[in-house]
């Protein structure tokens, strides 16, 4: 049975819920968003990922209506959002600080938006109770925000922003204030809630792990531009630039010049070292300068030279980072370049194969890495 994969972005007939069309936002001399165009589809869990100051929060605030674009248009279901004030948008936001009203109980906080819509009393009660159940807060309905824990506050904020059943829910660093363990649990909760409510989520985060876990697509941003929009695996395995490759996860970056040979690409990168052989769908000019990016876990480490490897280099173990489940070996090549290789620790540490100063071979297949122009 083939699973119907959720990928409206690949469907040319799919109508996006949100369209950014050449949107620019300037604050004085500073350009926060620079000519940005992107489509977000219904039921998507869309992550805006980037370092602080990259414009991701500005994008979200424009969706909420707290900022208006200096140029370009934002469409929600095909309708231009610019003239619609925040209190009339079918968009709700979960604030980074949660922004819970301290003088109202959990119940009243969740009911706040429904009251503004003049929802009938019994209907409102049912809706609030449904939200309390969804976020497992039934027991805390009568408490004030300062009487509950950080994780519970986070759930109240989520329940409050979901109560009005918005077309689009914006989450501004929703898990930033939680500790790591709670954050990981909550990520899965968020995904469950997103799936069960069918709401479109746009999440802003600087935590790449969080974005990769929850999102259907990730937009990596830098200096007010989206560098790449793709599914988490595509972002990780096929980054389109060294910026993305470097921002997401750990990577070895080798710079050299290429020459093509059939479907294969050969890169010369250091004197006395064999050329790096790899496959690519992109075409590069002869002697073009390129970057070769390879993830540490795709580099194998062995004592003997592997016979059938497409690429193999020899070096010396410089450092070992033991992380429990995995170890990262920093291997120095004769030219001084350091390559990171990761192995899963499926043996007890006392029987580890390599130690400091050992001479080892690093190898990887022809499809393990990617060639990047910039």
């Amino acid at each position: 049975m083939a699973l119907d994969v959720f990928a409206p972005w690949d469907d040319p007939d799919a109508k996006p819920l949100i369209q950014f069309k050449n949107v620019t936002k300037r604050f004085g001399d500073f350009t926060a968003i620079d000519d940005l165009t992107v489509d977000i589809f219904e039921k998507e869990f869309f992550a805006l990922l980037g370092p602080s100051g990259c414009g991701k929060t500005t994008m979200m605030r424009m969706l909420a209506g707290f900022e208006t674009p200096s140029d370009g248009t934002i469409l929600l279901s095909g309708q231009d959002m610019a003239p619609v004030p925040p209190n009339q948008r079918a968009v709700n936001m979960m604030f980074q600080s949660y922004a819970l009203f301290p003088h109202l109980s959990v119940w009243e906080n969740i009911a706040f938006g429904l009251r503004r819509d003049k929802m009938p009393k019994d209907e409102m009660g049912a809706r609030v109770d449904e939200m309390l159940r969804l976020t497992r807060l039934e027991k805390f309905a009568r408490r004030k925000p300062h009487q509950i824990s950080g994780g519970q506050r986070q759930r109240v904020a989520l329940a409050r922003s979901l109560a009005k059943a918005p077309k689009l829910l914006l989450l501004d660093e929703p898990l930033g204030a939680l500790d790591k363990k709670l954050r990981q649990e909550t990520q899965f909760e968020l995904m469950d809630i997103q799936e069960s409510t069918g709401t479109t989520f746009v999440i802003v985060t600087h935590d790449q792990e969080e974005a990769m876990t929850v999102a259907s697509r990730v937009a990596v941003m830098d200096h007010g531009k989206i560098v790449q929009v793709a599914t988490p695996d595509a972002i990780y395995e096929a980054p389109n630039s060294t910026y993305v490759a470097d921002f997401i996860g750990d990577v070895n970056m080798i710079t050299g010049t290429v020459r093509a040979e059939g479907a294969q690409l050969r890169m010369t990168w250091a004197e006395g070292q064999p050329e790096i052989v790899g496959e690519t769908s992109k075409t590069f000019g002869k002697d073009q300068s390129v970057h070769f990016a390879i993830r540490p876990e795709k580099v194998s480490i062995s004592a003997e030279k592997p016979v059938d490897a497409a690429n193999a280099v020899q070096g010396q173990v410089l450092d070992i980072a033991y992380l429990g489940n995995i170890s990262t070996y920093h291997v120095q090549l004769p030219g001084g370049q350091v390559i990171k290789a990761q192995t899963a620790n499926n043996r007890r540490i006392s029987r580890r194969s390599f130690t400091w100063e050992d001479s080892v071979w690093l190898s990887w297949t022809a499809t393990a890495g990617v060639f990047l122009e910039q």
Partner: protein, 296 residues
């Protein structure tokens, strides 16, 4: 031991500067008027020993308090003080809240300067500032001259020596006490609360009433008490700016002490005033306590 010493210092201070003077006033209020120095009797004669003390206490009575209930001047003055104080507090709130709100919403870098401007009047003597208002509000004063020059009025307005002048004086003098606690409560408020309210469907106006107003409630209550309590006993403003019709208990007190030289009745007036003030002071303390609990 050190803790006791630490607590003892403020208690001794309180004893010396509040309880002892209060005991003296209380004692005078129970004495009788006399043509002597000091102008009341009995005097405590410790040389006569135990007999002297007994004689002293036997002469104390509540006569002056009974007198306060007999002459309608006193209870009218108390009531009038309460009324003026209530109205003045409301007016000060009306003027102070928008100012505090404006300050809290002003750009970050302006706020210290605005705060400074609120505190600045304290650098000049309170008395001089009230005298300055006499110059402004008088028949030939700055205000009337300005209004005549503008042509708004043809006859000078009579403001000085009316209750209006008293209200102006009180609002002016006590405004910082209203602004500062309200500003503090507004300044603490997270701005994203208003954005959240707006996001959930509030207009700016209803967001103010639903979020800003309840969250600044503690500041408003504190400010109101800080104005209301001292204004009840206010003496300088009604005597300088008020007229013959301005009846306030502070003025009555002054007249009893210095014009009538009836120290026992004046003391009784003061003791009753203190008893009246204890109620709002307790309420004020309770409000402060509640606020601390809400924050803690």
């Amino acid at each position: 031991m050190r803790r006791i010493a630490l607590i003892l210092v403020p208690y001794l201070w309180l004893l010396a500067l509040f309880l002892v003077p209060f005991a003296i006033v209380l004692k005078i209020s129970l004495s009788d008027l006399a043509m002597s120095i000091p102008p009341y009797t009995p005097q405590l004669d410790l040389a006569a020993g135990w007999e002297g003390i007994k004689a002293f206490f036997s002469q104390l009575d509540l006569e002056n308090y009974i007198w306060l209930t007999q002459d309608e001047l006193y209870w009218k003055a108390y009531l009038s003080s309460l009324k003026i104080s209530l109205i003045a507090t409301a007016l000060t709130l009306l003027v102070g809240y928008p100012m505090a709100y404006g300050m809290a919403r002003a750009p970050e870098e302006w706020r210290p300067m605005l705060l400074m401007l609120v505190i600045l009047p304290f650098w000049t003597s309170f008395l001089i500032r009230v005298y300055a208002w006499m110059g402004i509000l008088a028949k030939e004063g700055v205000l009337n001259q300005f209004l005549m020059w503008l042509g708004v009025v043809s006859e000078p307005l009579v403001i000085l020596n009316t209750n209006i002048a008293v209200y102006i004086g009180i609002v002016y003098t006590y405004l910082p006490f209203m602004i500062l606690p309200i500003y503090a409560s507004l300044d603490r408020m997270d701005n994203s609360l208003l954005e959240a309210a707006e996001d959930l469907g509030c207009s700016r106006f209803s967001a103010f009433w639903l979020i800003t107003a309840p969250l600044s409630k503690q500041g408003v209550i504190a400010g109101c008490f800080l104005v209301f309590i001292p204004v009840i006993g206010e003496f300088v403003i009604p005597s300088l700016l008020g007229g013959s019709k301005t009846l306030m208990i502070g003025k009555v007190l002054w007249d009893e002490f210095f014009s009538n030289r009836d120290w026992p009745v004046a003391s009784a007036v003061a003791v009753v005033l203190l008893l009246i003030l204890i109620i709002p002071i307790i309420l004020f303390q309770r409000n402060e306590q509640k606020q601390r609990e809400a924050e803690g």
